[in-house]
Amino acid sequence: MNASTIAAGTELPTLSTGRITRHRVARYAHGSGDLNPIHVDSDYARGQAGLPDVIVHGMYSMGMLSRLLTQWAGPGSVRSIETRFAAMLPVKASLHCEGVIEAVEATEGGSLVTVKLAATQADGSAVAAGSAQVFVAAGR
């Protein structure tokens, strides 16, 4: 990336998960320690929770939005990230993550870039939305 690509309105390279299988949900449950049965037990999801099936963790969507940022600005670049959880994401759906630069502020050694974030299903329906501040070192 160069300075000209860091400007308000610029879209970050997108990140799409592809189909989020039960196995991927289980791996995130393991990694995050969140073993809430609504994410890992279909019988519970259908019975007690009244859902068609298990749902993907909201924090999985936030995690993917954070990866959208680090694949662009590099590891350790995220200064803050905020996400509102808009809707449940069913297992076997896919997630599409997008970011648009809202503001750029010069800071010591680089730029502090404010990015607007959105995570949607394949049909465009909102799953999560938010914003982040990312440090981009000069010359990266």
Binding site: T17, R24, R27, Y28, A29, H30, G31, S32, G33, D34, G58, M59, Y60, M62, G63, M64, S66, R67, L69, T70, P75, G76, V78, R79, S80, I81, E82, T83, R84, F85
Partner: protein, 148 residues
Amino acid sequence: MDRSAHVGHMWPPFEVTVERGAAVAFARGLDETDPVHLDAQAARAAGWRDVLTLPTFPIAISTERVDLIYDMLKRLAIDPARILHANQRFVHHQPICVGDRLVGTKRIGVITDRKGGALTFIDTVIDYRNAQGELVCEDHCCLVARNT
């Protein structure tokens, strides 16, 4: 129900050591491929003191202390089954790497009733500090309780 008396409640600080297995399993759970998040040697070669955790890794720390969430819901007389995660924010002041020893302090921030009391939003904050007492990360979590 007036829950304002609980605003500002603070739990005793808890210590946490960032474990390698936990940090790597979290990264793998998000299909992370950058070796600085997976391998100590690669992380050191890139200038980090050890494997660098992902930006949302502190959620794994707070999940480990789910007892604090249950204690809070008990204090607020809220059924855990009525709770949804509404909003999450992390503010990173310093990187968190494997081997780091942090002290977390959790408190109840704001409690807001909306929709005529049908919904209660509960903001909690966990501050993580290092051995020098410097602020490393803030975890701002907003849960919403459906009261009807």
